[in-house]
């Protein structure tokens, strides 16, 4: 199992597109799709082969041993995240092939898209603090550029806002990494965790916690740091909105928070409490702000803030059940939010507007789009056979089990609010009386196919809840997140024991 291929295959694809596909747009799409499919297949193989390797595959790049090199680590959690990223990435790339008929510069789009995939795969796989920062910046740069891809006034403004906030918080993260390095003289995550476990908790570490919560909290769009998301996500082209909302905020935000605070710092109580507070604020404020939106994609953006709050709430509870709920909701939200963003993209493609006041009565003319939106709505609102129900139920039960009854009740109530604002979408866009916007163009086949696949996944992925499957595939991930020392202990045998220091 070669882990570095998750990084160099998309990187190579990006530059091959720049080199060969500047004039031929179909070549760009083919290269990008091939690279995405390759990563998806390898990610699935890695997930299936992982138990045979004892739950950890480690690759030292450049042949040195750990303190002197950057290690790529594939454990249960990162393998799971790789599948989520590559699945949504492949479907988004497939969707963009025909969606981009309305844009210029397809090769540009696909090159940036592949760089974004490189960055996200790198963030997931790396076992090194500074490397995490570098890969995070790679994917964020591509995200800034892709948000501004349409080069309209709003898009440029949103991209500048996103770039400004992203740059400030990235600098904060770098500052935190510097403080950690000054304390432990190492950048490898497992080594930092090991040194800190020997030395207790120095006061300086609380500054690092603060910097990291602000830094990764902005990437996650938790509430005090959420201002960029409702601008940036709607401004991007629809497949990129699906990528940003579906996986980018989870990879750079939730995954990084979980990996750093749970596996390296050992889930300190004060951080969990802060995260819980931020999560519940996100759930409530994101939910209520969605109701008043009239822009279809802006509504989805606020809904992302609310839903990411559920994910973080699940993790922040710190109990096995809460973490299970967080992991499942992360996966399910990636599926149904990408589906909903792609539906909004299809509506925009067909009618050239996404203002709910102008839309209406589209269900007769756009059957596939309206029915897949219905599936997405039912999933996100948590109606029983669909996947969103199970993850939300688990999070709410976990809240009550952990003695946080108020949080559970709030989470349950906001779930009803979620249903309310998606029913608003249904009423104003697909049912109700006919609006002023007309269907100008048919939705192409590839876009329909992706939407149908995602809608099917909304139903099929609830099969994970069947106990034998859950025990086999999801429980090891929960153990990886919870095991405060197991991550360090697993990696420790790979350390260089020679004394070059």
């Amino acid at each position: 199992m070669i882990l570095s291929q998750f990084i160099f295959v998309p990187l190579l694809a990006a530059f091959l597109i720049v080199l060969f596909a500047r004039k031929k747009e179909n070549v760009a799409a083919i290269i990008a799709l091939a690279a995405c499919a390759w990563i998806l297949i390898v990610a699935v193989i890695g997930f299936l082969k992982l138990p045979a390797h004892g739950g950890l595959i480690l690759e030292n790049t450049s042949g040195w041993k750990i303190p002197y090199t950057i290690a790529l680590v594939l454990d249960n959690l990162s393998s799971f995240m790789l599948i989520v990223v590559s699945l949504i990435g492949f479907l988004s790339a497939f969707y963009s092939v025909q969606y981009l008929n309305h844009f210029n510069g397809k090769w540009n789009f696909f090159a940036l898209f592949m760089l974004m995939m490189t960055g996200m795969n790198g963030v997931i796989l790396t076992g090194d603090f500074f490397n995490l920062f570098v890969f995070m910046e790679i994917s964020l740069y591509s995200a800034y550029a892709l948000v501004a891809f349409g080069t309209e006034s709003e898009e440029l403004e949103a991209a500048f806002k996103y770039a400004l906030m992203g740059a400030i918080t990235s600098t904060m993260i770098l500052f935190g990494i510097g403080i950690l390095y000054s304390y432990t003289s190492t950048l490898t995550m497992a080594d930092v965790g090991l040194q800190l476990s020997h030395s207790g908790t120095p006061k300086l570490l609380f500054l690092v916690y603060g910097l990291f919560i602000a830094g990764f909290g902005l990437k996650t769009a938790l509430v005090p740091f959420h201002a960029w998301l409702p601008d940036a996500h709607p401004s991007a082209p629809a497949p990129i909105s699906a990528m940003l909302s579906g996986v980018l905020i989870k990879t750079l935000g939730v995954y990084a928070i979980v990996r750093i605070f749970f596996n390296v710092f050992g889930a300190p109580t004060v951080v969990l409490q802060i995260l819980m507070l931020l999560a519940i604020l996100s759930i409530v404020i994101g939910g209520f702000l969605s109701i008043v939106q009239w822009d279809f994609k802006r509504l989805l953006g606020f809904s992302s803030i609310s839903q990411i709050g559920y994910v973080v709430l699940g993790f922040a509870l710190g109990t096995p059940l809460g973490i299970l709920g967080g992991i499942l909701h992360l996966f399910y939200h990636a599926i149904f939010k990408s589906l909903l963003f792609m539906d909004s993209g299809a509506v925009e493609y067909a009618t050239d507007t996404r203002d709910l006041r102008q839309l209406g009565g589209l269900s007769k003319e756009m059957k596939v789009t309206s029915s897949t939106t219905m599936v997405g709505t039912l999933s996100i609102a948590g109606i029983p056979p669909f996947n969103g129900f199970f993850s939300k139920l688990i999070i709410i039960i976990a809240c009550i089990q952990a003695g946080r009854v108020v949080l559970g009740i709030i989470a349950a109530l906001v779930s009803i609010v979620t249903l309310a604002y998606f029913l608003k979408v249904q009423k104003h866009a697909f049912y109700g009386k006919k609006g002023s916007a007309k269907v100008l163009e048919k939705v192409p086949l590839a876009m329909k196919a992706v939407m149908i696949v995602l809608a099917a996944l909304c139903l099929l992925s609830s099969l994970i809840m069947i106990p034998p499957i859950r025990e086999k595939y999801i429980s090891p991930i929960v153990d990886t997140v919870r095991g405060k020392t197991s991550y360090i202990q697993n990696i420790e045998p790979y350390f260089d024991t020679g004394s070059i220091k």
């Binding site: 790049t61 450049s62 042949g63």
Partner: protein, 149 residues
């Protein structure tokens, strides 16, 4: 070399001095790259200096003069080729040694020019990538007009 745009750029004094200095800057950049494994510097620093020599030329003579001599498409392609070659160097290491970006050449003797395995090769690729990339960034930023169209 014929200058087709004599009225662009700065004054005659600057242009004459530039004719002497630009080669020095370019060669200094190459020196930094080639000795990157022996002395301070390396691919990135050298690449920046190489790019600065082009920037120097552009500032003194105007950008049309530079575009007359260098093809923008070629610069873009060269940048992509350099990036691909960096990745391929990593893959060769993976193929020959078994680790991504592993050293697949002999280390050589210390303090000589041909030593340090694959680091000089990577330095040269990085120099091309950074030099071309940085100059293109400068070029595109400089060619924006205040008004659209």
């Amino acid at each position: 070399m014929q200058n087709n745009f004599p009225n662009e750029g700065m004054s005659v004094i600057v242009k004459t001095i530039t004719r002497f200095t630009v080669w020095l800057i370019f060669l200094y950049g190459l020196y930094i790259v080639i000795h990157g494994h022996l002395s301070p510097g390396g691919g990135f620093a050298g690449g920046v200096i190489v790019a600065l020599s082009y920037v120097h030329l552009t500032l003194a003579y105007g950008k049309n003069f530079v575009l007359d001599r260098i093809n923008k498409f070629a610069m873009n392609s060269l940048e992509a080729i350099a990036a691909i070659l960096i990745v391929l160097t990593g893959i060769v290491g993976l193929w020959l040694v078994g680790r991504f970006l592993a050293n697949f050449l002999g280390i050589g003797t210390l303090y000589t020019l041909l030593s340090a395995g694959y680091i000089p090769i990577l330095n040269i690729f990085i120099c091309v990538k950074v030099g071309m990339g940085l100059y293109l960034v400068f070029y595109y930023l400089a060619s924006f007009k205040p008004q659209e169209g």
